[in-house]
């Protein structure tokens, strides 16, 4: 059987990949994708814990389902905002969306 730790390590790596994407990318949409990676890592965690440590109530599974749902919704919402920004500024580059500062 696969040990729980394997899943945790995998999710940590996936999370870190996502974080790296958030920190290094300039395109709003790519940042959004990276966030999706982080959320996927979270879902893996929840499911892993549910399967291994909460086999009777498996709330984690439900949680993961909701995480997936919310993540999807978030993509939709964020895309709307990106589109709006693009319409106003002709760019989806987050570095150029920096008129608000200091």
């Amino acid at each position: 059987m696969i040990p729980l730790e394997n899943f945790l390590v995998l999710s940590a790596l996936l999370f870190a990949f996502g974080l790296f994407g958030v920190l290094s990318r300039r395109s709003a949409i790519l940042i959004l994708m990276s966030v999706e990676l982080m959320l996927a890592a979270v879902a893996i965690n929840f499911i892993a814990f549910a399967s291994y440590r909460d086999t009777e109530a498996f709330s984690g599974l439900v949680f993961a389902l909701f995480v997936i749902t919310v993540a999807a919704a978030e993509v939709g919402l964020a895309l709307g905002i990106v589109l709006r920004l693009f319409r106003e500024r002709r760019t989806a580059n987050v570095d150029e969306a920096s008129s608000l500062k200091w």
Binding site: L4, E5, G18, R25, R26, L65, L79, R84
Partner: protein
């Protein structure tokens, strides 16, 4: 709008090239894993796990590293499918299904649309921010810390259990009925959000103004 969509040929090229790369990259991993499996160092589920993990992580790396936006998006598809595979390994077919449907079918398409609609150039190449090296450092450290902390734990060696779908359904729609309602509202909100932003504000106002007058 359609002028900004990538050409089908480009798609083809991408898929073919990507598949080739994937195959070339996966083959050695596959070979090593197969060898390990053969010598009984790993079990069959582990074989699948490692294979899926390798694909998943490689494509995740693609998502965050690819210069070409479309390539990155396609890598995301692979990643999410890999995640679905992991779900399967965790014995939750239902969630794997949801993952494939929601992500593979919905989110990625949405993202692709978004990409195309927001990319003014024909050449969808993106540049990364100047803090990339630091980002790499931080991400690496975070991964290290997370892994260290996760492994620090005394999890014991629990066995994964199969959760029957009916039980899951009961749990979801009976015990967690309220969250289901809430999440419905949430989706509604998200829809509203997408709607109000994607629609032209002036158009909306104009419509309202006409309605009022």
């Amino acid at each position: 709008m359609f002028d900004r969509l990538p050409l089908p040929s480009q798609f083809d090229r991408t898929i073919i090239a990507g598949g080739t790369v994937l195959l070339l990259g996966a083959t050695p991993v596959l070979v090593v894993l197969a060898a390990l499996l053969v010598v009984d160092r790993i079990t069959a589920p582990e074989f699948v796990f490692f294979l899926a993990s390798a694909v998943l992580l490689a494509s995740a790396a693609g998502v965050v590293l690819m210069k070409n936006i479309v390539h990155a998006a396609l890598c995301l598809v692979v990643t999410l499918l890999g995640v679905a595979a992991i779900y399967l390994l965790l014995l939750t077919e239902f969630l794997a299904l949801v993952q494939v449907l929601v992500y593979g079918g919905g989110v990625v398409i949405l993202l692709l649309f978004g990409l195309m609609m927001t990319n003014a150039q024909d050449d969808p190449v993106v540049t990364d921010g100047s803090q990339k090296p630091f980002a790499f450092g931080v991400a690496a450290l975070i991964a290290g810390v997370f892994i260290a902390m996760a492994l620090d734990a005394q999890w014991g060696s629990p066995e994964a259990a199969i959760i029957p779908l009916p039980d899951f359904g009961a749990r979801l729609f009976r015990d967690f009925s309220l969250p289901v309602v809430i999440v419905a509202v949430l989706l509604d909100i998200a829809f509203t959000g997408a709607f109000v932003n994607a629609r032209r504000a002036d158009a909306a106002s104009a419509a309202r103004g006409e309605a009022r007058s």
